[in-house]
Symmetry: none
Subunit: 409 residues, 2 copies
Amino acid sequence: MKSLIMIIDGMADRPIPELGNKTPLEIAETPNMDKLAENGINGIMDPIRPGIRVGSDTAHLSILGYDPYKVYTGRGPFEAAGVGVEVKPGDIAFRCNFATQDENGIIIDRRAGRIREKTDRIAETINSMKIEGFEDTKIIFKESTGHRAVLVLRGENLSDKISDADPKQEGKPPKKVKPLEDSPAAKKTAKLLNRLVEKSYQLLKNHPVNLERLKRSETPANIILPRGAGAVPHVTKFEEKYGLKAACIAETGLIKGIGNITGMDVIEVEGATGGIDTNLENMKNAILEAVKGQYDFILVNIDGADEAGHDGDLKGKIEFIEKVDEILEDLMLEDLYFIFTADHSTPITVKDHSGDPVPIVINGPGIRVDKIVSFNEREAANGGLCRIKGSDIMNILLDLMDKTEKFGA
Amino acid sequence: MKSLIMIIDGMADRPIPELGNKTPLEIAETPNMDKLAENGINGIMDPIRPGIRVGSDTAHLSILGYDPYKVYTGRGPFEAAGVGVEVKPGDIAFRCNFATQDENGIIIDRRAGRIREKTDRIAETINSMKIEGFEDTKIIFKESTGHRAVLVLRGENLSDKISDADPKQEGKPPKKVKPLEDSPAAKKTAKLLNRLVEKSYQLLKNHPVNLERLKRSETPANIILPRGAGAVPHVTKFEEKYGLKAACIAETGLIKGIGNITGMDVIEVEGATGGIDTNLENMKNAILEAVKGQYDFILVNIDGADEAGHDGDLKGKIEFIEKVDEILEDLMLEDLYFIFTADHSTPITVKDHSGDPVPIVINGPGIRVDKIVSFNEREAANGGLCRIKGSDIMNILLDLMDKTEKFGA
């Protein structure tokens, strides 16, 4: 038996007055989701606990059976892992912006004109740089999408208990990084980071890519602004934990990072943008290939509904849910446990995540099929699963797959 | 947005054979509770965990997001706070009876003829008394209702690990208080308490109030019998914990004590007796004033249904539930999250609390309104909340009020 957990990011919602107090899932035409509901056992699921407003990262960790209160040290490590940096436990990881500093040391653009091109060449200059007095610390730096990048510090005596360099607003100099606890490691890391920010400007101000940008009257990406320090956690690899060979098919760096840190094979999909314009056909084909291939377990994250929720784009959210529905028909396979759910609600009325539970349905042999025939937030609450937690899902799945040891006699 | 949690103490029940196996809530005419059910999301709630037979105090703590296994050290601290003693963490608090001791040192009435008047004058004599050899310990003593009072010891090296002085039956002398652990603090506190009980008799036997009572052939309140030692816990104030300015509108000392210890403004209501004869109109007006006033959060406890349950008074319980229903109409306000529930079941057939879950309904904007149209124990179990815990409620409420930080990204 194979298993597939398909997480439609932020799909769940609250009743919307202009829809006659229906949710997007209740309004959207979703014959395939309804078929999953009809053939499965349904319920509502709190990613962590009722009312807890989760991020996509903490929700996915919980659903995969990792306690986010133990392994989630911040977004940095997962972002870094998501762009392909092989982070190691103990590394200190940061999210960074390429920014523009003027001659007076003032940040005049926190996103360097929303630079999109040749950031890899700029990143090369920062990656592996050495800082005087801190030669024992390895500096790993890699571009992410747009003006974003990640920084990883590797070495002895480093700490994530330090403040941000990013001033979070323009018209100010970079913030001096300060230790947030009275420890030699925090002091050392803060000092190192201040030098790194300074030195990044020295290395980048006359960088060929920036000279080209200046010629075109574009703001240069001449300084690095790190924020959100997080120590890479010790995480038992998914395969070691469950004995299942796993693939992760995701669009965003954050979820790919979770796949990487938990030791899954992260499968890249062409045209997977993370938006409502993503190529769902390519996603479907990648899923089919993984299910039919060597993997026992496939984690899928599709991000468009969350993006539409954050944007307050009601029409976009409904249409995207309907598009997702279209690819489901081909995924209802024999010999597959198929769990279909969301990681959290991103209500149109909130434009951010909320703590409401999400609907979940499980299809596969031996399931106690219930009476629910449509997939949405309210019907699911009357289903056979009642109300479960994200941390219950792997246990339920492993039991169905007959992969667990009996506890007791 | 404002929020109101209205807890009808002991309202939930079990099916009663003489009602055709209906519960009081199922039999009572409750058009307004049913309207709350119809307009809201319903469920059943275990104050702590399924089957745990809670007190009103531990249930309220759990509902307010405090772990009763950590902060509940006994009834003493909450009773003391409830009568207005400003208890501090580390204080040792006791519930006490005014009792009658004869010349041979035998307790002949544990309630001093159910004394109701001038206990304040007797309390004055005990309050601030000094005991030889224990001059560093501050003694705070205050009358409560009827023959009840509270005692608080404040000072260094005190312990709540001591036994009761109250013999719990008449015809015996006061029990010698013993340390319940082998510590200097427990030994000291036990010794102090034995002296205090002895000295209370010396101070009170010829007290003017008692001489008057003797003239009227009433038994004198000539000795203090402490019981139920509890150390006042460290409790984060409600406003600090949640950022909500809170009021507590309650009838009993126990629940007022919870309001006081968690730093809420405790609002006194004239005619609030805690019985089925309480003035619900005054309670309603106090709630309305608080909701329209400066408070973000109002905790309400109404006690009559619990009293009727303890008394096995079926008719009284049904009628009281109907009276409570009448005040609800005016409380269904705009811009208010209204949570209506009980703290536990007090089944008529049990005459005490039971571990059965209670119905709960939430009204307010953005709620996933379910199909439930009447408010009672059994219908609620089919509602959209499914089954939640008391400790989930503040998380759910804070999320609805948009007062939470996202955990993760």
